[in-house]
């Protein structure tokens, strides 16, 4: 999604990433990859649980993490779309998302 960020910005759409990674992990491991949209730390799974996206023992060593999901929220705060995957390797592409906006 990062590579197509201009197209999202052009259309006035904001991007947010959420995972169980801590602030330190995001800083060390994700930012060097060039992400410019906010990546938020949710180590206590607060937002992840609010959206029902906890994947129990999804981490290879047994911890709980978020299952991959893309939620599109409209201007009024209502959910427009929930895009979930049945396989964590397969995620929606930027082009696919742009066409759904």
């Amino acid at each position: 999604m990062q590579t197509e960020i201009d197209k999202f910005e052009e259309r006035g759409v904001a991007l947010i990433g959420i995972s169980t990674s801590t602030v330190g992990e995001i800083k060390d491991k994700m930012l060097p990859k060039g992400f410019t949209f906010p990546l938020l730390a949710d180590p206590e799974l607060e937002a992840i649980d609010a959206y029902g996206l906890r994947h129990v023992a999804g981490y290879p060593t047994g911890g709980d993490i978020a299952r991959p999901a893309v939620i599109i929220v409209d201007e009024e705060g209502f959910i427009r779309e929930k895009i979930l995957t049945e396989n964590w390797r397969v995620r929606p592409t930027a082009e696919g998302l742009l066409s759904r906006l």
């Binding site: 947010i16 999901a69 705060g77 390797r89």
Partner: protein, 140 residues
């Protein structure tokens, strides 16, 4: 070709290993190659092929030491290829069913979380704007 076969006992597992490791380190960053592993699965299969052909070719007229080398190389490449396929075609599908919480959501629940700079970001900061929230598994 002769060189390849002579050295297949280490080349085959090496090719399979590169195919295995590069999936997780390089190709996951390219969505089309992550979703359908066009590069990595053929690569590990190539390793298996080389291992097996080297084993068959080298078996005759070799001593036991050399035979066990070829056998070990072929087995190692099969093992590595098997692990990658296991991950891609089985393990990565093991996801919990979609929860009723997610299914019943209509209004996006508010959250307030810290970004990489320690700044708090809330969903309500974006009111009046469309937002795409991407939940991801995190880096590991």
């Amino acid at each position: 070709m002769k060189f390849l076969l002579r050295h297949s006992y280490w080349l085959a597992p090496a090719i399979a290993f590169v195919g295995f490791i590069s999936y997780f380190t390089v190709f996951v960053w390219f969505p089309p190659l992550r979703d359908v592993p066009w590069v990595n699965v053929p690569m590990v299969l190539l390793g298996v092929l080389l291992g097996v052909v080297g084993l068959l070719g080298g078996w005759k007229g070799s001593g036991w030491r050399r035979r066990s080398l070829y056998l070990g190389g072929a087995l190692a490449s099969v093992l590595i290829a098997g692990l990658l396929c296991l991950y891609i075609y089985s393990i990565s599908y093991q996801m919990p069913p979609i929860s009723s919480v997610t299914e019943n959501l209509e209004k996006a629940p508010e959250f307030s979380l810290s970004d990489a700079d320690g700044k708090m970001v809330s969903l309500s900061d974006y009111r009046g704007k469309k937002v795409i929230i991407s939940f991801y598994r995190g880096f590991w």
